[in-house]
């Protein structure tokens, strides 16, 4: 019977998960609030301690505007208390823009570094400090060794890290290397919908693709910035994209989240 077969498969899955977890307590996760995203992440959300990568395409690889906004919103629930350290090479981060996104700028510490190795080392130092809850860094491509050190620093002090891939002064892009991050997100802008009263611009929208995730599945969505509580994260799924949709312009019909 299909019903009991489903129930048996679920039971088996639960037992496998229990065996895999062993005596470890399940890590607390921060869900997105929408099952279309949470089903792709292990445990139903982003883990509390760990670091993630955010990559932009085209002009975003150099200017890093959409990636910065996405990273700020991704880290915002974790930044509710504790200090936030933003490590950058080119000081064009505009604080009033972060205030528009609801980011706590009064607890923000900005560090300007000279090169990538220094930036990753400062980020590791910040993540290992107990008072720092979120560290966001702009680097070109952290290699496996640096990534592993960031992960260890996160686990030691429970910090949340985000690395934005950015070449602030242009230059040729290096090919994608292996990564020790928990997840890698590819972010680009998407046309937003019209605002309710028809004047001006509506909420910002991004085309977000989860490229790789440790223990999860890749996926792609169009996310919109929304402050109503659909979950701890200020995102609202506008639509889910199939793989082949990434190459084209976004779909014509945008349906509301159910």
């Amino acid at each position: 019977m299909p019903g009991s077969r489903e129930a048996r498969i679920e039971a088996l899955r639960g037992r496998i998960a229990a065996i895999e977890a062993g005596t470890r307590t399940p890590t607390p996760v921060l869900p997105f609030g929408d099952p279309r995203i949470d089903s792709h992440l292990p445990g139903g959300g982003l883990p509390r301690a760990g670091w993630h990568e955010v990559v932009g395409e085209g002009l975003e690889g150099e200017s890093g505007a959409a990636t910065a906004a996405f990273a700020a919103l991704l880290a915002r629930p974790r930044a509710a208390k504790g200090a936030v350290v933003w490590v950058l090479r080119r000081s064009d981060l505009y604080a009033p823009g972060l205030v528009n996104l609801g980011f706590p700028v009064e607890r923000l510490v900005v560090v300007r570094v000279r090169d990538e190795a220094e930036g990753l080392s400062v980020m590791e130092d910040a993540l290992a400090t107990p008072g720092v809850s979120v560290a966001i860094g702009e680097a070109e491509a952290p290699d496996l060794v640096a990534g592993r050190r960031l992960q260890l620093a996160c686990e030691r002090a429970g910090g949340f890290g985000v690395v934005l891939h950015r070449r602030p002064y242009g230059g040729p892009a290096r090919g994608a290397t292996g990564s020790a991050a928990f997840s890698r997100w590819r972010v680009g802008r998407a046309p937003g919908r019209a605002p309710p009263d028809g004047l001006g611009l509506g909420p910002a929208a991004w085309r977000v693709a989860l490229e790789r995730c440790r223990g999860g599945r890749p996926g792609a969505w169009i996310l919109e910035h929304s402050e109503a509580d659909h979950g701890p994260h200020p995102f609202r799924v506008v639509s889910e994209l199939a793989d082949h949709d990434l190459a084209q312009t976004p779909p014509e019909r945008l349906r509301r989240a159910g």
Binding site: G82, L93, A95, G97, V99, V105, V109, G131
Partner: protein, 514 residues
């Protein structure tokens, strides 16, 4: 507060060997004063060559400063001469002043040939003021700089005793009145008019001036007369321009053998920091800035400053902050003295760690901020603070990460602002239907963007109170638009200037929205 103890030293005007001998300068006259032929410095004054200074041998032969060079050479044919170089003398005196920092952090250059040191709180390291003065003068004479010195409560009294008193006078606290009474009037640093008139009135000694009515003397000789007298006696203060700010928090370690290995340098820095931190702790204080100075054998000094975000006195932490900066120290032949000064000393309560310590956020962040600031520099770590200004690029200021909350009004969260603001707006070419409409398409960096939505304009005027009167005008008004192109990218562009003026308004891209 105890009276300030000052030490004055003067190089006697008759032995003008250059003090730069102490620093490896290739002056050929080093250390051979006694067997040299008589030596004088010449200066050209109003067309004639005159003697600027003479040494002891020349003075013994009857020469004096101010004489004509031709006369002097006729009197003493074997006179050796050189040109007077006041700049080099000044620089050498300043180097000597820096060298004296090993005795006390507060050293000031006095006139052309003297130094004033404020030795409050430092004499205990030599076992007394007399011993300190003897050591200082002995070291100076070893370098070939003969000097006279004196210690007194006030700078004025020390100056007087160094130049006119007996050798190496140490005046007990409060005893300057009696010590000065026997000195000639010239010891008070009066101006020339007073100096010339006082002997004519029969006033040759300072002691005779004590009993005179002050108001009449001030009227006759000027206020500076009474001021100088008060400064010498301690009734009035005197402002000295120290090379470094005076600080009684000073510790010093001297070594039998000069050291040069990096591990030794780090170890002695830890030792001397432990000394000063123990003293700070005994008094319940902490300091925000420490400066560890390594003094080399030949007199050169290397300073390693360390700053803390919060006042502290943890020697281990400070030593860890000093260790990475030691590569600026070049030991040369060896370091023989290390000193540490503490500045910005404040009271620091004894904090007791709780068992269930929930770290105060700022306390937990302070070590990280200290490490970053000391490693990268102060200008590279900041917290963005609101500045009350409409102009976007001026609306954000930088402040120290652990400073108190900003006093200016916070930014308005309703005004749309970009996530990235370009430091220099980039020019774009724009096509718009009507002058006041938002644009339909623009070209930036060679790429065309077709716009599907726009918001604005937000008019940001010029801060007319900042610039010149002629600079103000409608040409500087900016109308900002928030635009979205067909791919979804959002830009912040503005039009500078108004249509209808002489010059065509220009369009710029200022920022990118996330």
């Amino acid at each position: 507060m105890a009276a300030k103890r000052s030490e004055g030293e003067g190089v006697s005007a008759s032995a003008e060997t250059s003090p730069s001998v102490a620093f490896g300068d290739t002056s050929p006259f080093r250390g051979r004063i006694s067997e040299d032929p008589p030596f004088a410095l010449l200066v050209s004054e109003r067309g004639t060559r005159r003697l600027a200074a003479v040494d002891a041998a020349a003075a013994a032969r009857g020469l004096s400063a101010g004489q004509k060079a031709a006369d002097a050479l006729a009197l003493v044919p074997q006179l050796v001469t050189a040109d007077h170089d006041p700049d080099a003398d000044r620089r050498a005196l300043e180097s000597l002043c820096d060298w004296c920092v090993r005795f006390s952090p507060a050293v000031a250059v006095d006139g052309e040939d003297g130094l004033l040191l404020d030795i409050t709180g430092t004499d205990h390291l030599w076992g007394g003021e007399a011993a300190m003065l003897a050591d200082l003068l002995e070291r100076l004479s070893r370098w070939g700089v003969p000097a006279r010195g004196a210690i007194a409560d006030t700078a004025g009294a020390a100056w007087a005793l160094a130049r006119f008193g007996r050798e190496q006078a140490v005046v007990p606290p409060g005893g300057q009145r009696e010590a000065l009474s026997r000195l000639p009037v010239a010891a008070l640093r009066l101006d020339e008019a007073a100096q010339a008139q006082l002997p004519r009135l029969g006033l040759h000694r300072v002691g005779q001036l004590y009993a005179l009515p002050r108001a009449q003397m001030a009227k006759r000789f000027g206020l500076s007369f009474t001021q100088r007298l008060d400064q010498a006696l301690g009734a009035a203060g005197e402002a000295l321009a120290f090379r470094r700010p005076a600080s009684p928090w000073f510790e010093r370690l001297a070594f039998f053998e000069p050291i040069s290995a990096p591990e030794d340098l780090a170890r002695v820095a830890a030792d001397v920091l432990a000394l000063i931190c123990k003293r700070l702790e005994a008094q319940g204080r902490g300091a925000k800035r420490f400066e560890v100075v390594y003094h080399r054998l030949d007199g050169k000094a290397f300073a390693v400053p360390v700053g803390l975000a919060r006042p502290g006195r943890d020697a281990v932490r400070l030593a860890k902050l000093v260790a990475p900066r030691l590569d600026v120290v070049d030991p040369g032949f060896g370091i023989d003295v290390i000193t540490v000064h503490a500045f910005a000393v404040e009271a620091l309560a004894q904090g007791q760690a709780r068992i269930d310590a929930e770290l105060d956020a700022a306390e937990a962040l302070a070590p990280l901020v200290d490490r970053l600031v000391n490693r990268l520099g102060e200008g590279r770590v900041w917290r963005p603070d609101p500045v009350e200004s409409h102009v976007p690029e001026r609306a954000v200021g930088r402040s120290a990460p652990l400073a108190g909350a900003a006093s200016a009004r916070p930014w308005n969260p309703d005004l749309p602002r970009p996530t990235r603001l370009l430091k220099r707006p980039e020019p774009i070419e724009v096509m718009a239907k009507l002058p006041d409409d938002p644009p339909l398409r623009f070209t930036w960096r060679g790429r065309h963007h077709r716009l599907r939505a726009a918001e604005g304009p937000e008019r940001i005027g010029q801060e007319w109170w900042r610039g010149d009167f002629d600079d103000t005008g409608p040409g500087k008004i900016r109308d900002y638009y928030r635009v979205e192109d067909e791919a979804g990218g959002r830009f912040w562009i503005y039009r500078q200037g108004l249509y209808g003026d002489d010059a065509l308004p220009k369009w710029w891209l200022h920022g990118l929205f996330g």
